[in-house]
Symmetry: C2
Amino acid sequence: MESNAARLIRKLEHGVPLGHEEKRALEEACTSVQRFAARDDLVKEGDPTQGVNLILDGYACRYKLLSDGRRQIVGYFLPGDMCDVRVCILKRMDHSIGTLSVVKTAVLSREHVLFLMERYPRLARAFWWATLVEESITREWVVNVGHRTAFERAAHLFCEVFARLQSVGLTTGNSCELPVTQTELADALALSAVHVNRVLMEMRHTGLVTFRAQRLTIHDHDALRSVGGFNSGYLHLDGSLAPVHSELESAG
Amino acid sequence: MESNAARLIRKLEHGVPLGHEEKRALEEACTSVQRFAARDDLVKEGDPTQGVNLILDGYACRYKLLSDGRRQIVGYFLPGDMCDVRVCILKRMDHSIGTLSVVKTAVLSREHVLFLMERYPRLARAFWWATLVEESITREWVVNVGHRTAFERAAHLFCEVFARLQSVGLTTGNSCELPVTQTELADALALSAVHVNRVLMEMRHTGLVTFRAQRLTIHDHDALRSVGGFNSGYLHLDGSLAPVHSELESAG
DNA sequence: CGACATTTTGATGAAGATCAAACTGGGTGG
DNA sequence: CCACCCAGTTTGATCTTCATCAAAATGTCG
């Protein structure tokens, strides 16, 4: 990892190839580092929006609290993810962002992000691409909590996390870090912690997945994808730039 | 409604005030009209992305199909909504867009949208704002299907639809059109049609809401918001431009 | 070791799915 | 104008999944 921005660049280039200048601009933008403890909030719902945090290390999540105190995690932030570019446009946060593990971030001011987007249209497009992928993921989460059984849900989530980590080079073999408790998984899957525990045990017993000591190991990837109904298309990791790209270049 | 773009402009200005030039550019872009029957597809999952449809009249939805044939509606498109700006960036659709009623759209080519965004940075920002709001709505849907009971879910959805229609001037008093069957409502709420029916009857009997003949009438708005846990903040309809706006102007 | 969080196990209960069938109402064609 | 059809709604009965409550087991860290 040569620079703080390296993982972000690697991620963005799944969508929009960047030029040398744009990469340098990103690297220069990501110098101010900040650290957060596990289970701390980066941003709270209702806050006026501040700068953008680029996750350098560690795991975070978006979540919303319900009036009865229950919590729904509506998405994960993994290293290389920006949270939350939307603060540059919207006035206040409609949800919170919290850490799951210890997290190291690079902080970009809103002004700086907007400047980057004005100065480098391709970066603007890359940021937009990233938010679109995020939205796509959120939509898949609606399907997940809406229509899948507990077992399928967990399988699908594991597939997603693994695929996303793989895309930024953070898996080793068939396993990856996933520093969350079963209770936190329950918040993401919209299940009770007890039921999550039962699902996880069943996955272990059937030899599908082992989730233990903050680490996820997928023993049978095909089977897991199959039970979870996982189709990675919604992650748009396949160099998915629309072919109009060249025309745009000349138009600009 | 003076022009095809009028409702879109009205919607976008909830987020980003537009200048005369930008409005004219939008109006000029929205001349090519297309019509769709009820329950037709505007776009199918897996399609290479095409142009953008601006909904002029009628209701549509995003949906995903599961392998067992069940369907999850992951969002509604109401008049003034664009579906789907993301086609300008992503290569293929990860979900389908279908009509609920008869729908009239204005079609913009991808090239034209990209041109508009290059030429008018403020429009680019407005489009981005719109996609962020959409994402915010999707997130709220995760909470809805994940953590709320059937009754609460329906209440929340009704509040959302009403608020969104109100923001583009499509409500009359305490009622609005909602041309969907109970089965389609079930697809959006991740419930069975039978259960939706029971919820709707209960709402009628308690005098909260009447949903009948494609029309939604809210008799007790406060109570409905309260049971649904509805807080309109996530729709960002409150002139939510971040205060950085003026700085940006000078930076450009 | 002791305190504390987390995982595991068991028992019971509730929300909502599923299946099946009856009812309603608008539209069509004879 | 009536008979019929079909989509949508309503009702009832049964079954599953998962939540909830409670408590024991395990593990971790000072």
